[in-house]
Symmetry: C2
Subunit: 203 residues, 2 copies
DNA sequence: TAACTTTGTAAGTGATTACTTACATCAAGG
DNA sequence: CCTTGATGTAAGTAATCACTTACAAAGTTA
């Protein structure tokens, strides 16, 4: 009988970086941020602690890389929706629903974002977080303004305030997800929020 | 010439507990959660690290005591407003404005709440956080329902969803406060949010 | 005043942290 | 085949963590 012993195979740095980032999110969601140590990280991937530092200079750099991924992937996706040629109402629906989808799919990320915001005084990190927050706000504002310019929505509505209120949707969804371990929230959630938004926008 | 050397005077445990809790919030706001160590805590108060453990069994117990203060003080205040005999519209205004006030006055607390929620798997802590969140939701729902029963507000509005949307207000205010170091937000903020809420509630 | 409890300190404790070092092994190119 | 650079490991490192211990001194009560 031949026994194959699985040994850690060599991978290029890009692949490893992806694995490490994914493991960070997994740990945060399953065990909480407190258990996000480089030791646990290495154990989760099945490599040595030293290997991690081959692919990232510091632990903080891993966090930064993840947050920059959010900036490109998530915000990029929202930008596409907001600047598409669809009707404003349809854009708004896609915008809200894909936000809700992203946040429920990537529960670890959102905990990471808000916790890092309060933990760190790292300015680079804070400024990226500010960008993510403000980009969402200005993209949703663009949709509101397009609908108002078109004449379908109320031009009296204070867009800035509405965008602020909108931002509460993803954020409080997060809180619920954290506190209720993701059990709540069916896929109707975004449609419910959409209908409230539409009532606010009605002339 | 006589020189008086100021030495740490003995205080009763209750006084010290108050000082310790206040110092925790100060540290969180000025230096971030990362620097909330028992060493820094002792230094900030001007006592020894050992003395802290005379008044609280563990560091976690300090956090718990603070969160329980929020439950009694903040939620207690909101409960008084929600169950008062004022008009629903007036209650809603007081409710939103005193929430905004509390959160801006106690910036350290809110960072603590949300960070602990994602950090810890401590069930006692999580359950208290859930209570704080759900109490706010059900108290604001009560105001909505009273206004609907009275006939002033739209009975078609889905109260549960509206309460969820409402919860976004304090939560996203927090994010702004964290990211912008409390520079934004004048005292009109709650009135702006109130007027959006009122449009949603209009028949 | 004597006995006892409470509040304080200084100097530890072992555990854990992010990160480093010395060295092995693998893949690729000349 | 041999060199070279990238990727891996085991076993460290000093620093920091929450918390303890042994003891002193102050306050209280008898």
């Amino acid at each position: 009988m031949i026994t194959y012993i699985k040994v850690m195979e060599r991978q290029n740095s890009e692949t490893r970086q992806g694995q490490i980032k994914q493991a960070v999110l997994d740990i945060i969601y399953t065990d909480g941020l407190k258990n996000l140590s480089t030791r646990n990280l290495a154990k989760r991937i099945g490599m040595s602690e030293g290997a991690i530092f081959r692919h990232f200079a510091t632990k903080q750099d891993i966090i930064l890389a993840i947050i920059q991924d959010v900036q490109t992937d998530f915000i990029g996706q929202l930008r596409k929706i907001a600047t598409s040629s669809l009707e404003p109402k349809e854009r708004l629906q896609k915008f809200i629903c894909s936000t809700v989808q992203y946040l429920t799919d990537n529960k670890g990320i959102t905990m990471l974002l808000f916790s890092e915001a309060s933990h760190n005084n790292d300015e680079q990190l804070k400024s990226t977080l500010r960008q993510i927050f403000n980009n969402q706000k200005s993209l949703v504002s663009k949709i509101f303004l397009d609908g108002i310019a078109e004449g379908t929505w109320d031009e009296e509505i204070p867009v800035e305030n509405l965008a602020m209120l909108y931002m509460g949707i993803p954020v409080s969804l997060n809180i619920e997800l954290i506190l209720n371990r993701g059990e709540s929230q069916n896929d109707n959630f975004c449609k419910k929020m959409l209908s409230l938004m539409l009532k606010l926008l009605k002339r």
